[in-house]
């Protein structure tokens, strides 16, 4: 997973651009997109409840980091928001996450099974960056700041 800041910045930029194109897209829709972009990294709850330390059942949070898992999480979250467009925005945010993560360097040369359980296939990755690299957030941050400044002047 790329660092969370890069994910959220990309979602912010995408949402901002879309809001200029479509008037129906409001600021809270951009926030929903940003929430969605962070959603697959809910797997980080493993830092609090480590599946490896639970002995009575073997489980993994990995499904949260799949398209199906993120879709289900987006369904749950969208029922908590009074906006009919909540699901598409949250889920689209999650899709931007998967796209960025599909470009990550992986020692196996392949990404991960993001379409599980529909398919176990892990697509090849071009290996552009690591989650710990700083430059993706620098680029994403620069773009986001430019859009934010331009948006305020519009």
């Amino acid at each position: 997973m790329a660092d969370l800041l890069t994910h959220v910045l990309v979602a912010f930029s995408l949402g901002t651009l879309l809001s200029w194109r479509y008037e129906a897209i409001k600021k809270h829709h951009i926030t929903l997109l940003m929430i969605g972009s962070a959603l697959p990294d809910l797997t980080r709850i493993g830092l609090i409840i480590d599946p490896a330390r639970v002995e009575w059942v073997s489980f993994s949070y990995f499904p949260l980091h799949t398209v199906v898992g993120a879709g289900l999480t987006a369904v749950i979250l969208s029922t908590m928001v009074k906006d009919d467009m909540a699901f598409p925005f949250i889920f689209s945010g999650a899709l931007t996450h998967f796209f960025l993560d599909s470009l990550l360097i992986n020692v196996t040369g392949h990404s991960y099974a993001m379409f599980w359980p529909m398919s176990p296939y892990a697509p090849p990755t071009p290996g552009l960056y690591l989650s710990t690299d700083m430059w993706p957030a620098v680029i994403a941050g620069t773009v986001a700041i430019i859009l934010w400044i331009y948006g305020r002047k519009r």
């Binding site: 660092d3 969370l4 800041l5 994910h7 959220v8 910045l9 409001k26 600021k27 809270h28 951009i30 926030t31 940003m34 929430i35 962070a38 990294d41 480590d50 599946p51 490896a52 330390r53 059942v57 073997s58 489980f59 993994s60 949070y61 990995f62 499904p63 949260l64 799949t66 199906v68 898992g69 289900l72 999480t73 369904v75 749950i76 029922t79 908590m80 928001v81 009074k82 906006d83 360097i105 020692v107 196996t108 040369g109 392949h110 991960y112 099974a113 599980w116 359980p117 176990p120 296939y121 892990a122 690591l130 989650s131 710990t132 690299d133 700083m134 957030a137």
Partner: protein, 150 residues
């Protein structure tokens, strides 16, 4: 009802995926769990593991899973990671304590700290935007866009 079904399906997926073992045919190589708990079974196989560098000469990393650890010597790495860096390796498990790496990635400790710091900042930013853009409707127990703070 939708929430309940979604949660149940998600929990089922957690258990389903947790029950799966390694399958190199779909790039699911033996990893940290297998190397810590049952390395003998995977000697001669390709493995993909990560751990903290605990020694540089020889290069040794500590692989952790569920509180248990195993020190693995890594050969075939040409650059020089530092103690504390994270090393991820893909290669052949030569014996229970040695991997001959064919590909590796080093993540310096400072970059790992950076990643967590900016990720926390990102969470803070999103929470702030939720506070600004939504209000909590107590009666209907739902977030309403453009509340009193918006």
């Amino acid at each position: 009802m939708v929430i309940l079904v979604s949660i149940l399906v998600l929990l089922s997926l957690f258990v389903w995926y947790g029950s799966l073992g390694p399958d190199p045919d779909v790039n699911r190589y033996p990893g940290d769990e297998e190397l810590v708990h049952d390395p003998g079974r995977y000697v001669g196989h390709e493995v993909a593991v990560g751990g903290k560098v605990v020694s540089v000469s020889p290069l040794v990393m500590e692989v952790e899973y569920g509180g248990d650890t195993r020190e693995i010597q890594v050969t075939g790495v040409d650059d020089e990671p530092k103690v504390g860096d994270r090393l991820t390796v893909f290669g052949i498990l030569v014996d229970e304590h040695t991997i001959d790496s064919s590909k590796h990635v080093v993540q310096p400790l400072a970059n790992i700290v950076y990643m967590y710091a900016v990720s926390f900042a990102a969470v803070g930013w999103v929470v702030y935007r939720i506070y600004k853009e939504f209000s909590w409707d107590r009666k209907n127990k739902i977030f309403e866009p453009e509340g009193p703070h918006g």
